[in-house]
């Protein structure tokens, strides 16, 4: 590989990390409240709102049903509204976040739902208000599961970010398509795959380790 190509690969790697990092941050900030809402607002939850629950649940499912590549295109007007542009890294971050948020929210929801109802009851019995229950019971007790779910989300996002080339955002997937596939440069293709595999392994390893730490308590 030429030095330029190595530079290009390095830049692509940074782009991917940046896109995935920022989108993952947004997915967590939006996904956890969303998951908390889905769990607490269902009938019999600590803040029942069955109608709103059904509406939000349907919207979440709707977004999850749309394949990422379609979302990327369909969201173009919204992306322009938010970022002022439809190409580049930020133009990819919008659809990536929009796709990852409901995905992560559903995974986090499962973990939150697994928190023993007896714990919520115990918290109520000692005079905890709803926010204390969210803060001291639901989130900390579900944390290992949420963290595991976050790892899964990150890996899925690294995969999805490969399509960001479609809006000129660069990244590893873009390099693989443009140089590896279209110009038949097998070395580049192999290099990209190696970097992706390393990245995914690293994320999974760190995630598993963190979860194991939490569970060992």
């Amino acid at each position: 590989m030429s030095p330029q190509m190595i530079d290009r690969l390095g830049q692509a790697c940074l782009d991917t990390l940046f896109m995935v990092g920022v989108s993952a941050g947004i997915a967590v900030l939006a996904g956890i409240p969303l998951a908390l809402f889905l769990v607490t607002s269902e009938p019999g939850g600590i803040l029942p709102a069955p109608k709103a629950n059904r509406v939000v649940g349907t919207i979440v499912n709707g977004f999850r049903a749309v394949p990422f590549i379609v979302l990327l295109v369909a969201l173009i007007p919204f992306t322009r509204l938010v970022t002022g542009t439809t190409i580049g890294i930020w133009a990819a971050i919008v659809p990536l976040s929009v796709s990852a948020t409901p995905f992560f929210a559903r995974i986090a929801e499962v973990s939150l739902r697994e928190v023993d109802g007896g714990l919520i009851e115990a918290a109520q019995s000692i005079g905890c208000r709803r926010r204390h229950i969210l803060l001291h019971v639901l989130l900390p007790e579900a944390l290992p599961g949420i963290l595991g779910g976050f790892t899964i989300t990150l890996v899925a996002m690294i995969g999805a970010s490969a399509m960001a080339g479609a809006v000129g955002a660069g990244g590893l997937g873009d390099v693989a398509i443009r140089y590896g596939y279209q110009r038949f440069d097998t070395t580049v293709m192999a290099a990209v795959i190696a970097v992706l595999v390393a990245l995914v392994c690293l994320v999974q390893f760190a995630g598993d380790r963190a979860v194991r730490r939490l569970r060992a308590r």
Binding site: L119, A122, S125, I126, G127, R129, H136, P140
Partner: protein
């Protein structure tokens, strides 16, 4: 639990700092508050119907009940009789469908969110499966009620330490619950329930997940708490021995109704309702029908002690050894010996006219188990 100091909890100045109706800092009231006038519960025609998928389920049917301050009330009844439902109306984990629950004269249903939170700080609860937060240390678990109440950190630390000392877990503050034994977990549960200095403690099958020995230590702790802090305890159990061990009064529930209630000595001594008799049957198992109604849980002068003695060995029980160990007149009430795989296995009910604990120890030394069933008087 020897050597524990409860004095700090008894300090009257600390009690008046709490907001309770009628409490003021007037010195004359201090002693009255310190002797715990608070802690009464009154159920007035409490009914509860659950709406489940399979149709309505009536769990409680017009329950009337008065629990005086400082009592240890036991609730017994078959599974599904409505025990938990009744207990949970006290801190409004469950709202009655009709009727009222009053805690210290205050209707629980009328409370707004703030009032409910305040009530729950005066009513502690412990659970069969402990319900401790696995993500928090023992300290974190016990501190939560105070954190939720917004107390300053130094005070939280002091009160958590005090509560842990009360339950005998001083050294375990930084341990996670998963590293504790069942008995220790329940002690944490008790500390968490007591750290807000409640007037009432609700226990839903609190010892049902524990082995008999641990059960006894937890019961002793509860009795200590009741005696020294004057906290009213309402407990649910399916173990009649628990009731006999610590309760002052007992309520028998059947299909959501109170079918029998009164002091333990009276209900256990002369159970009237068939449900009560059935529930108490294990305690008096094998007792001749004419003796069973005269069985009392407490000693009265002149009463004979009824013991259940089991034996298991290649030879049958040595009666002369038994008589020698009893150290006095022994009456055989009932006995059944079977031979199982070459062993004589059986249970005898004997009545000793003058039995001390040492007689029981000597009997135990013969190799079997000895259980005190109760006391019978010669004739009423």
């Amino acid at each position: 639990m020897a050597g524990l100091t409860f004095d700090s909890l008894r300090d009257p100045a600390r009690w008046i700092a709490r907001d309770r109706p009628g409490a003021s800092a007037a010195p004359a009231l201090v002693s009255a508050i310190a002797t715990r006038a608070a802690g009464t519960v009154r159920f007035e025609a409490v009914s509860k119907t659950y709406l489940s998928a399979a149709g309505p389920v009536q769990a409680l049917d017009r329950v009337d009940l008065d629990v005086p301050a400082g009592a240890i009330l036991g609730i017994i009844g078959r599974s599904g009789a409505g025990k938990s439902s009744l207990l949970r109306t006290v801190n409004r984990l469950e709202a009655p469908t009709s009727g009222r629950v009053l805690v210290d004269g205050q209707p629980v249903a009328a409370l707004d969110t703030d009032g409910l939170v305040a009530l729950r700080r005066r009513v502690g609860m412990i659970f069969q499966h402990f319900n401790l937060l696995s993500a928090k240390t023992v300290h974190g678990n016990v501190a939560l009620p105070l954190k939720a109440a917004g107390l300053p950190k130094p005070e939280i630390a002091a009160r958590v330490q005090e509560a842990l000392r009360l339950v005998g877990l001083e050294g375990k503050a930084e341990t996670y619950p998963s590293r504790l034994s069942g008995g220790q977990k329940q002690r944490v549960g008790i500390a968490r329930a007591l750290v807000s200095r409640p007037d009432i403690l609700l226990c839903d099958e609190a010892t049902s997940a524990l082995d008999p020995e641990t059960t006894l230590t937890i019961l002793n702790l509860l009795r200590d708490i009741n005696r020294r802090l004057g906290i009213t305890i309402i407990l649910i159990t399916h173990e009649m021995s628990v009731i006999r061990e610590i309760c002052s009064d007992v309520v028998v529930l059947e299909k959501g109704r109170v079918v029998e209630t009164g002091p333990v000595w009276r209900v256990f001594g002369g159970p009237e309702h068939p449900t009560t008799r059935a529930l108490l049957e294990p305690l008096s198992r094998g007792l001749p029908a004419d003796l069973a109604p005269r069985l009392r849980p407490h000693f009265t002068p002149g009463a004979a002690t009824v013991l259940a003695v089991t034996c298991a060995g290649p030879a049958g029980p040595d009666l002369s050894a038994l008589v020698a160990a009893a150290g006095g007149p022994v009456r055989l009430l009932q006995a059944g010996i079977e031979r199982i795989q070459g062993h004589a296995v059986g249970r005898m009910l004997i009545a000793l006219d003058a039995a001390g604990p040492d007689a029981e120890d000597r009997l135990r030394a013969l190799g079997g188990t000895v259980e005190r069933i109760g006391y019978v008087t010669a004739d009423d």
